[in-house]
């Protein structure tokens, strides 16, 4: 079933049945890691899609495949409704990346220690020929200011080691918006930052969304952060998308047992100081050896024998709210019946 967003804005990026496998090990002893196992979603204009999952769920791989740091194994990626080839040459990649940019998780390793801030921001403008040569510097300063780096003239000549974590991440943001892309993939952009400056970085990103009309794929392991940032939220588990829907729907009324578990485990002092009990044991399955059925089945309190057999289909719960769980299968049938 096609997973459609609720609103009817034009979609910037759309992925269909996206898969990514990695081969690890050396000759004669290779194993296949199934990092992404067929996921579908789209992101509209000026929309933030929060992608939530634990480490090893494949969420980072999704961003890296979309920005083509990794070649997708199979599936489709559509930019502005047009299908892009799975393998691209350097020139095609450069023009693709004019539209799709990325913010990295670790602000300490995402800036070359030997390059000044100014140099790092000049490069994208030169490569993508955003402005004429004599206007590059003023454009860089403008971008720095937009990313909240004030005063930009001072920041321009600084080297990464002279900046705080928050400032570095703002440089990362400035680098991403410099080419005026349509979509920015933000891979846990605040998880390595101090708590007290995370919100300001998130606010900055939201502000830029309004101002520049950019869309985000906001990747995080923090449900509350995703809720704060996103219009819609998608939940990933072991390379599968298990639930997607409007943020409030997914948070307030989670359908998939895994989403429910995540919510129970997340700290939420606002709803009483006594933490909820988490009684689900086990850990994420080995991605080199995935079970044929639902990947959450071994841990799922509601598991049924048929869950072992095959990965369940996406089920529509509501407009724009889907989940990949057998518990809701009858509901679709009812929906379908209603439609008829």
């Amino acid at each position: 079933m096609q997973v459609k967003k609720a609103t009817n804005t034009k979609s910037v990026i759309e992925v269909k049945n996206l898969m990514k496998e990695f081969r690890i090990g050396s000759l004669g002893r290779t194993r296949v890691v199934h990092a992404i196992n067929g996921i579908d979603f789209e992101i509209g204009e000026k929309e933030v899609l929060g992608l939530v999952g634990e480490s090893g769920s494949g969420k980072t791989t999704v961003a890296r495949v979309i920005v083509r740091l990794y070649e997708p194994t199979s599936g489709k990626i559509l930019l502005n409704g047009e299908e892009t080839p799975l393998r691209m040459k350097h020139k095609a990649l450069v023009s693709y990346r004019k539209h799709v940019q990325m913010i990295f998780q670790d602000p300490f390793s995402s800036l070359n220690p030997l390059h000044s801030v100014g140099y790092g921001l000049t490069r994208p403008l030169k490569i993508h020929k955003i402005v004429e040569k004599d206007k590059i510097k003023s454009k860089v300063l403008e971008t720095l200011e937009e990313a909240g780096l004030i005063p930009p003239q001072q920041i321009y000549d600084k080297f990464p080691y002279e900046l705080s974590g928050g400032q570095r991440q703002r440089v990362g943001i400035a680098r991403a918006i410099a080419v005026q892309p349509q979509l920015i993939l933000a891979d846990e952009p605040t998880s390595m930052l101090d708590v007290s400056i995370r919100l300001d970085i998130m606010n900055q990103m939201l502000e830029l969304k309004e101002k520049e009309g950019v869309s985000y794929l906001f990747i995080t392991h923090d449900l509350a952060g995703a809720h704060y940032m996103s219009d819609r939220i998608a939940i990933m588990y072991a390379g599968h998308l298990v639930e997607i829907g409007l943020s409030d729907d997914v948070i307030n009324d989670p359908k998939h047992p895994y989403t429910q578990l995540l919510k129970r485990a997340a700290p939420k002092p606002e709803s009483g100081l006594e933490p909820e009990k988490v009684d689900v044991g086990g850990e994420v399955p080995d991605l080199t050896n995935l079970p044929p059925g639902c990947p959450f089945e071994p841990r799922c309190p509601f598991a049924k024998p048929e869950c072992k057999e095959r990965v369940p289909d996406m089920v529509k719960i509501d407009d724009g709210h889907f989940t990949r769980c057998i518990l809701y299968k009858n509901r679709t049938e009812q929906n379908e019946i209603k439609k008829v």
């Binding site: 509350a224 943020s247 129970r264 485990a265 939420k268 002092p269 709803s271 689900v280 044991g281």
Partner: protein, 321 residues
């Protein structure tokens, strides 16, 4: 309840050939038997230094500069190396931040558990085995992993093994330094839940260190907030959650967007913490504080005082009270 640990005016930090940092500055607090104390603060605030300092485990260049630490009636600063070694693990144990890497990669889990026991108490091989199985059982790890090497365990299991080791000699205090940050949310929650159950059963005290204030509010009895090497606020968790007196605590608490409820715009705290290698004049939070009183806060560093019952704050806003 009597105090298990009394820390007074502790100053600790790191001594390099050319400079010194004071990561812990004049910290005093008490911990009761069986208490769960959370210490929250951001990176570089000195919380880990404090954790290592109070059990005298700071490795060079780390050093305690001054202060006193009284553990269960013993002055830890005066204990010699050999007696300190004997006290370790038996009286207090520790679960580390990077628990993924604290197990010796070349020794079996069995050997490592045995080692943590056999240098403190005399046990026969079969007693050791019985105890090791018991411990793994306590943290829900199958005893078949006794003969596994650390690299054969998942992150969550390694952490459980480390916790089992920390419980081995029934210590009176376990210090946990961000023990679950590298783990998944769900596994982390489950482990914390289990630790708390064990605490209630076995009666040890916990000092739990993390940057995740919203997690601490839920799990700890009392909470201390650290900033720039100092404890700037300390209170029972529910009191602190209901009312944050120090502007930094207020800002930190409101830096966590709530999970449920209406979405509204929140703000973090602008600026960055001061450099800990020098003298700080006045309140260390002064440059970032939106309630600062110039002429007062930039001149004198406020002391940690009890403003309401059990609620300690170091802030000039409450000077007259």
């Amino acid at each position: 309840m009597s105090a298990l640990l009394k820390v007074k005016d502790l100053n600790a930090g790191y001594e390099f050939t050319k400079f010194k940092t004071w990561a812990v500055r004049n910290v005093s607090f008490e911990l009761n038997q069986g208490e769960f104390l959370g210490i929250a603060g951001e990176s570089g605030c000195g919380k880990s230094t404090l954790a290592f300092g109070v059990i005298r485990l700071l490795m060079p260049p780390g050093k305690i500069f001054s202060g006193s630490i009284e553990f269960n009636g013993t002055d830890l600063m005066k204990v010699d190396d050999e007696n300190l070694r004997k006290m370790r693990w038996k009286e207090f144990s520790m679960v580390f931040q990077a628990s993924m890497n604290v197990l010796n990669p070349v020794l079996k889990v069995r050997t490592q558990i045995y080692n943590s026991i056999k240098y403190h108490v005399n046990m026969t091989e079969s007693e050791l085995e019985k105890r090791a199985k018991e411990l793994l059982n306590l943290v829900n790890v199958s005893s078949k992993y006794l003969d596994a090497y650390p690299h054969q365990l998942s992150g969550g299991m390694k952490q459980r093994v480390v916790i089992a080791m920390a419980l081995a000699l029934n210590p009176k205090l376990i210090i946990m330094d961000e023990p679950t940050t590298a783990l998944d949310v769900v596994v982390q929650r489950r482990i914390l839940q289990e630790v708390d159950e064990l605490r209630k059963k076995l009666g040890f005290a916990i000092i739990f260190i993390t940057h995740d204030l919203s997690l601490l509010v839920e799990i700890s009895d009392s909470l201390a907030i650290m900033y720039a090497g100092q404890i700037i606020e300390k209170a029972p968790s529910e009191k602190l959650y209901a009312k944050q007196m120090h502007p930094y605590t207020y800002g930190l608490m409101h830096s966590f967007p709530p999970l449920v409820g209406k979405r509204q715009k929140l703000h973090g705290i602008a600026g960055r913490p001061p450099d800990l290698s020098g003298e700080i004049k006045g309140c260390p939070f002064y440059p970032r504080c939106d309630k600062r009183i110039s002429g007062v806060c930039d001149v004198e560093n406020p002391k940690l005082v009890e403003i309401e019952s059990d609620h300690f704050v170091a802030c000039h806003l409450y000077d007259g009270k």
